[in-house]
Symmetry: C2
Subunit: 340 residues, 2 copies
């Protein structure tokens, strides 16, 4: 046998190598790395230590191919302008990874890319696809479902009435009712509801719940305006267009926003372009409690979702193979600051 140089570039060390070094079969080596395999503690210890010195780690790619599970999920994101996305991604990946799941991040480049993105995910044998975007409307979901390429389709942080879908979200109705009652208690009388894109049927729930509570109390529907994207810059523009000619006349006394991304833009406009005070002239309420909401610039009264609980619940669901169709709602809490 001739001398073998240590390979210059990374050479795969497999279970077989460890087996040869330990004097057991390669199947026993694999067993040593499985949680509840029938293997004697002694051989396992011997194998683990040999593996360590050889630099062996199980190849999850091969494991996924051979089994029905990959321990991999795809996370589809289509909206990177909303700062809340960063928070959600952190919580989700933290919960997933700390419990042994890997995450494939898929940027759905534009509206028409949703279907290709879903296909892309399925090509990597993911155990579940998680949607945390906004472009995923009912039509897209239905298409995804009919393709039947997913063990699980999970809508995160957005409710969905779609069947065969797992949705994990905050209870929008309860949350919005709490917001509405807070607004009423503070004796605001002329609300403006600032809603997101009209196409998102699920999100209409917040707007409609607010309208329903208001009408039930005062007999009239609140004023409402829609913003085409969850984007502070655009929201600031729309707020300016809506309010610029009404200063001193019939200005709203509170702007209730579908989320913080919209609320931050509204605050910028009220303070810097209309030169009015918050909350004295106009109060503002948001939803999500993004990091900037607590900044002294905003001090935004908003609604915080229990993202950590929701993320952990998501992993629970992942670990129950039979769970493919459920609709779990969480209760968050209103965070009261100075903006309303």
């Amino acid at each position: 046998m001739h001398a073998v140089a240590k390979p210059d570039s990374f050479d795969n060390v497999t279970a077989g190598d460890v087996a040869a070094a330990t004097g057991v079969s390669r199947w026993t080596v694999n067993r040593a790395f499985k949680k509840d395999a029938s293997i004697s503690p002694k051989t396992r210890a011997k194998i683990i230590s040999a593996a360590q010195s050889l630099g062996y780690v199980p190849d999850l790619s091969a494991a996924a191919l051979a089994s029905t599970r990959s321990n991999l999920v795809a996370l589809l994101v289509d909206d990177f302008t909303n700062p809340h996305k960063l928070v959600m991604m952190e919580r989700l990946t933290r919960a997933l990874r700390s419990r042994g799941w890997d995450t494939l991040l898929v940027n759905t480049l534009d509206r028409d890319d949703t279907a290709p993105a879903l296909l892309n995910a399925s090509q990597r044998r993911v155990d579940a696809t998680i949607l945390i975007g906004v472009q995923f409307d009912d039509e897209v979901l239905a298409a995804a479902q009919s393709a039947r390429r997913f063990k699980k389709l999970i809508i995160f942080a957005r409710s969905s009435s779609n069947s065969d879908t797992i949705s994990i979200a905050v209870d929008d109705e309860a949350a919005t009712r709490e917001i509405a009652h807070y607004v009423i208690d503070r004796r605001y009388k002329r609300p403006l509801y600032l809603a997101g894109p009209r196409t998102i049927s699920a999100h209409l729930l917040r707007k409609e719940t607010f309208a329903a509570v208001w009408q039930h109390r005062f007999g009239v529907l609140p004023e409402s305006v829609s913003v085409g994207r969850y984007d502070s810059i655009l929201s600031a523009e729309i707020a300016y267009d809506t309010l610029r000619d009404r200063v001193g006349a019939d200005l709203p006394d509170v702007v209730v926003c579908e989320n913080d991304a919209l609320a931050l833009g509204v605050i910028d406009t009220i303070r810097h372009r209309l030169r009015l005070r918050i909350p004295e002239d106009i109060a503002v309420v948001g939803f999500d409690d993004v990091p900037a909401a607590s900044s002294p610039n905003y001090r935004l009264t908003t609604y915080r979702q229990p993202l950590t609980d929701m993320s952990n619940y998501l992993v629970d669901v992942l670990e129950r193979p039979e769970a493919t169709n459920l609709d779990r709602k969480f209760i968050g809490r209103l965070v009261i600051r100075e903006s309303a």
Copy 2:
């Protein structure tokens, strides 16, 4: 032949199925999905159409196992508080996906998790590991390199002197020099340099370049303070502690920040806690041009990195297998707004 019910759950359709339906061998089916394979256009068209109706797509997991490439990269992120991370992730995943690469998002949960995170990535057979965090100091990089489990280790948006490492970053020295000269041209005389965590040796470059330019011009070193994390809230606290007792006395006339996350916090403190004007009392300069920097609340003068170019270059490097050790620097541009 008995009637076959459409399987209730997703059943894998493989190249073999398509081959059977088309009357060719399954290797020919695979060829139809390879870009420059020698196959007649006619058979390819026939195969593609059959594949479509059967719902076949190549399994990338199996492809990765069989070949030396996976077309998968790991993106290690350790710092989700900096809003710039969201922008970087968007640009990177966009460039990667639009050119056929998938991204594994790995949240390095805490400092000690870096090595396990790297291992985790290698278990999925990634072609490269991209680091965009801040906790990845030289020690960690060295450990990662010695493990030799990576075809490529790419430090993105941060320069690194490490050998056997690919770094793709903005030219910190040139950028900081431009900032320093701008500050000098505007006749600021008493700068305070607000730096990030002291442990990040690479980032010291900005601070030291600024100090060098200043000393060369005025013969003295500028004042400097360090913030333990790239976090606006913490930065606001440190700025307050540093400046609170100096109002009216020896206040700096400009605060130059290592990045925008720090700058936003500084602005909050100057305006809302010290109740001073920006830029009249104290000017502020940042780095990164995060979305909030253009908000009317901040109007931050800052330095924008050419992230799109950098991301595309990264994919170029990915596609050149021989490239494993290079240090590419990009020139960005100073975005002048009202804060300085």
